[in-house]
């Protein structure tokens, strides 16, 4: 199995950087009209390229086309959306406000990490470090010192992260046995998920967490296939950087631990456990310090616990602790689902519905013709059902051989994490899909594999129609959003 070429990631990064610079230089940043026009042209170009397949593998081209189109959406959205639009906890563009902007500006202006852990300063620093470096470079080129643009440039990291996930899809599909048109389904679901490009246009660590979770999943599977030094070192580095981005990336450690234990057990039976143990030790020696140094710093300075999150109180209008647990977690609030496609953070309490809606629209309202979000929601619901059917099918037909069990395991792990987080922090904002974006990766691959192995013509047609509808509505939605 070929490794994914690192040059593609470098190319991607510089392409996004170039686009950002170009848009800033042309003075059309935030000008949705021109950017959307460019997006339409590019999407059209991709479509023409696909149609000119001329005897080559149509499925492979479709896969590439969806990935490319997805990147166009991600980059286009990032360029047409200012960092203060549809942001979360950004705060004022000052050092003292305590939001994400403040964190970035502290690094840029003061050249040091925040000296408190108040408000958003408790967050792990990797995104802010990377974002501030990129911002300094970009704004130096553009001779700009405005606080807004200093913060805005950090979106390049988010956009890169969300697009980089699409580059991981090919090796993931390969390693998980998703073949043929199933890969196209997986690519379509992942590339066109609105939550993904919404995160890519934000100045916080959501997209980077999404990217790292994907890399951790991929790299763990690669280690499973070939437990050599390269893979363990990459995995350790990935874990370190992931945890340095957000501690919750440590969720994937549960999956990795199972794989590690399984491999260790095999080595005990067949020999070679000592060398493997050494690799694990190396893994720990790299990943733990890299991932936890900031947490240790904050623990000693501010007595901040490892799993600390900003606390709201039960007086908050977002508090949902009084709502019955069953209604919060285990039933489907169909009345809410039928009422509006958007979440209402002030009143919604049902996790399944909130996850579905926020996966498509975040926690925001949009002034787009209502048919588009409604159709997008319907397609999203349909694909959610497909995912559930895929999980059931994978378990029922005892297809737990190979990568089915990994995909199901990781998907269920992500879902359980969403449940746990909302249970632990019973506030409506805890349900936001932006904390669980990674879920789309195993979901898309399972849907793709179900398509290939389901064997049922009706099911294949349904999945195809739903995916096509999802893609079309997502594109329309992205182009209509202001």
């Amino acid at each position: 199995m070929k490794k994914y070429p690192v040059f593609r990631f470098i190319n991607l990064f510089f392409s996004i950087l170039f686009c950002y610079l170009a848009v800033r230089l042309l003075g059309i940043d935030g000008n949705t009209k021109y950017i959307h026009l460019m997006m339409v042209v590019l999407l059209g170009g991709i479509g023409v390229w696909f149609c000119l397949k001329d005897g080559e593998d149509g499925v492979e081209r479709a896969f590439q086309a969806f990935v490319a189109a997805g990147m166009v959406l991600h980059i286009g959205y990032m360029l047409s959306t200012g960092c203060m639009i549809r942001s979360h906890d950004l705060g004022d563009f000052t050092i003292s406000s305590g939001g994400h902007a403040s964190y970035l500006l502290t690094l840029i202006w003061q050249g040091q990490l925040p000296q408190t852990n108040e408000i958003q300063f408790y967050q792990q620093p990797f995104f802010y470090l990377a974002g501030s470096v990129v911002s300094v470079v970009v704004n130096h080129i553009l001779h700009c010192e405005e606080a807004f643009y200093l913060v805005d440039a950090a979106k390049i990291i988010s956009c890169f992260a969300s697009c980089a996930v699409l580059l991981c899809l090919k090796p993931l599909c390969g390693i998980c046995g998703v073949k043929g048109r199933g890969r196209v389904i997986a690519a379509a679901m992942t590339a066109f998920l609105p939550a993904s490009y919404l995160a890519g246009g934000r100045g916080n660590c959501d997209a980077l967490v999404y990217f790292f979770m994907t890399v951790l999943f991929l790299q763990t599977l690669r280690f499973r296939e070939k437990p050599d030094w390269n893979n363990i070192l990459l995995l350790a580095l990935a874990y370190g950087l992931a945890m340095m981005t957000k501690i919750s990336c440590g969720l994937m450690a549960l999956f990795t631990t199972v794989i590690f234990l399984y491999e260790f057990g095999k080595r005990i039976r067949h020999g070679g456990w000592l060398l493997l143990g050494l690799k694990y030790l190396t893994f720990a020696l790299i990943s733990f310090p890299l991932g936890l140094w900031y947490s240790m710093r904050n623990y000693f300075r501010f007595a901040q616990s490892l799993t600390y999150v900003l606390q709201l109180t039960s007086d908050s209008p977002l508090y949902r602790g009084e709502v019955p647990l069953v209604q919060r977690f285990f039933t489907l609030d169909t009345a809410n689902l039928l009422k509006t496609p958007y979440v209402n953070i002030g009143s919604d309490y049902n996790l399944p519905v909130y996850l579905l809606k926020s996966a498509l629209f975040g926690e925001f309202y949009y002034s787009v013709p209502v048919m588009v979000p409604v159709l997008l929601l319907l397609c999203g619901m349909g694909l959610s059902v497909v995912t559930v059917v895929a999980v059931y099918d994978g378990i029922r037909k005892k297809k737990m051989a190979g990568a089915w069990k990994y995909m199901i395991g990781v998907f269920c792990l992500s879902l359980l994490a969403a449940f746990y987080f909302y249970w632990r922090e019973p506030y409506s904002c805890s349900m936001d899909y932006r904390y669980s974006i990674f879920m789309i990766v195993p979901a898309g691959m399972m849907a793709g594999r179900l398509y290939e192995e389901g064997g049922n013509v009706v099911m294949k047609k349904s999945i195809s129609c739903l995916t096509a509808g999802f893609v079309l509505c997502s594109v329309l939605f992205c182009l209509m959003v202001r």
């Binding site: 009084e322 019955p324 647990l325 069953v326 209604q327 285990f330 039933t331």
Partner: protein, 555 residues
């Protein structure tokens, strides 16, 4: 059926009887009473021996509801009687009614007078601000009011009080026994007569007035077993249906409340059971044709009892008619019509006339016999017709909004339970009872009904037809009823749903599915048991685990 079947029936019935009777209601309640009138001479003057500050007055009211009393305290300084500004409204019959009469200071004497022509009080308990009981020193003057003080409970839960429509049916059953004017006459009398049997044996206590419902609920278990056995001749399926029925929520709750729904369910199920037996006999071998008449007779008696309990028995009767005529049409189409057959059918028609018109009419009329003594000068037929007119007018006019009313399509999806009773305890626990269906049975029942219809239309399965007609005959009429209704009207349909589910699973022929379904149903029953039985549990348990939907209000 063999010995194994009978043993299963007996064991299941006994077990369910224990479950039903466990804490169904207190076997004791204040029974001696004093009748107050509006006359001053008939008022109560109580002497507490010294100045005491009375905070609350707990009154166990008799059979009349909504009684008003005026309360006076003796003002020592002014040497005069001071009337409590608000008159005290005591609402619920056969319930401990709490009323605050705290005047903010102590007094030695209290004067209680009825504002109504007549008020029956069984017991009064006075409490100070700390909740301690205070007994007047002159209790000897009013022994009936203070002779059962030990029966006053710390918390007046369902166990000690009447709940929901028991204030009507239980009360009217009491009135039937004591020859009092009848309050609840919006349904025919048989159900209330049956409730009164329990009161005769065990007294006007919660146990007494719920006894007959419990017996009906217990008897339904072997009836369901027999019905399922008749349908499939399979012990496993019969046991499955019976146990599933035992885990049906509404069956449990309605068997523990003195209303008439369990009674009519008992009769309606028998109607369809006997009709099935008759049809099986009619289409079966020609030996022992006398059995056909026996089944028809039993069916007719059940029909009469059903209609004499509640007019929804007419819905079931219509269902029987549909089945009978469908069977007749089928016989006409496929049968060999020789002279013997024709004369047998004519004879059967005559028997049907007797069994479904004459006998039910007689039973219906007979159920009104206790009304004769209350309507002197009127004939029985006049009384029956007048009451029928009243019932018709009443049921047309009942459109008052109720927080727990629901329409037929809401019953099917179990949307809005009926909240019967709630008591909140100081330690953060709650005792709450609701009437609603087992969601597993109701929701999977929807799929099973559709599958059943498919079985009939595509595979011409007659059992499926029979069960579908039975189910829809009890549901469809409610589409046209526009009065205030509640989910318990769907109870009889849930019994047929259980049989329909059984039929669906039998056709699927997957052994593990029945066991799995049953285990799930039992688990749900155990989980919801506190909400069905009024068992005291932490509020959080009910709120977080049982309130599945916003419309399910249990706390």
């Amino acid at each position: 059926m063999n010995g194994k079947n009978y043993l299963s029936i007996i064991i299941l019935t006994l077990f369910y009887a224990f479950l039903l009777f466990y804490r169904i209601g207190c076997p004791d309640a204040p029974e001696s009473f004093l009748k107050l009138t509006a006359s001053e001479q008939n008022a109560i003057q109580l002497d507490f021996g010294k100045n005491v500050r009375i905070s609350e007055m707990e009154v166990y009211l008799g059979y009349q509801s909504n009684r008003t009393f005026s309360v006076w305290f003796y003002e020592e300084n002014g040497e005069s009687w001071m009337k409590l500004q608000e008159e005290q409204k005591i609402k619920s019959p056969f319930c401990w009614n709490s009323t605050c009469i705290d005047i903010g200071k102590a007094s030695r004497y209290l004067y209680l007078a009825s504002c109504d022509e007549e008020a029956q009080i069984h017991e009064i308990v006075f409490l100070d601000e700390k909740g301690n009981r205070i007994l007047p020193v002159n209790v000897g003057e009013y022994p009936m009011l203070f002779d059962e003080q030990e029966l006053y409970p710390e918390y007046a839960t369902y166990y000690y009080n009447s709940m929901f429509d028991e204030i009507y049916h239980g009360r009217t059953a009491y009135e039937l026994i004591h020859d009092l004017p009848l309050y609840e006459i919006s349904h025919p009398p048989l159900g209330k007569l049956m409730i009164s049997l329990g009161i005769r044996f065990f007294g006007m206590t919660p146990f007494g007035w719920r006894f007959s419902s419990a017996v009906m609920g217990i008897l339904l278990v072997p009836v369901i077993y027999c019905f399922a056995w008749k349908l499939w001749h399979d012990s496993r399926v019969a046991l499955f249906c019976s146990i599933l029925h035992c885990t049906e929520f509404m069956h449990f709750t309605l068997s523990r409340i003195a209303t008439i729904d369990i009674h009519i369910a008992f009769f309606v199920i028998q109607m369809f059971l006997f009709m099935y037996c008759f049809l099986g006999q009619w289409f079966g071998t020609k030996e022992n044709r006398k059995k056909e008449f026996v089944w028809l007779l039993l069916c007719g008696v059940s029909t009469g009892c059903a209609i004499a309990t509640k007019w929804t028995g007419f819905y079931a009767a219509a269902g029987l008619a549909v089945l009978l005529f469908m069977a007749l049409a089928y016989r006409l189409k496929t049968g060999k019509w020789n002279k013997t057959e024709r004369s047998h059918c004519v004879f059967l028609a005559a028997v049907c006339l007797v069994c479904f018109i004459v006998i039910p009419f007689a039973i219906y009329m007979g159920s009104y016999l206790p009304y004769l003594s209350r309507n002197s000068g009127k004939g029985l037929l006049t009384i029956v017709i007048e009451n029928a007119q009243f019932m018709l007018d009443y049921h047309r006019a009942v459109k008052t909004a109720h927080p727990f009313e629901s329409l037929w399509y809401e019953w099917v999806i179990d949307r809005r339970p009926l909240w019967d009773s709630v008591t909140r305890f100081a330690d953060g626990t709650i005792s709450s009872i609701s009437t609603f269906g087992n969601p597993l049975i109701l929701w999977s029942g929807i799929a099973a009904v559709i599958y059943n219809i498919y079985l009939f239309f595509l595979k011409k399965e007659k059992r499926a037809l029979f069960l579908s007609v039975a189910y829809f005959s009890m549901l469809i009429p409610w589409l046209f009823v526009h009065r205030t209704v509640f989910i318990y009207q769907y109870f009889i349909c849930t019994i047929f749903l259980i049989l329909i589910i059984g039929n669906a699973l039998v056709h699927r022929r997957k052994k593990y599915e029945m066991s799995f379904f049953l285990c799930l149903s039992v688990l749900l029953f155990l989980m919801f048991y506190p909400q069905l039985s009024g068992m005291q549990v932490p509020v959080d348990y009910t709120r977080h685990l049982l309130q599945w939907f916003p419309t399910w209000k249990f706390v």
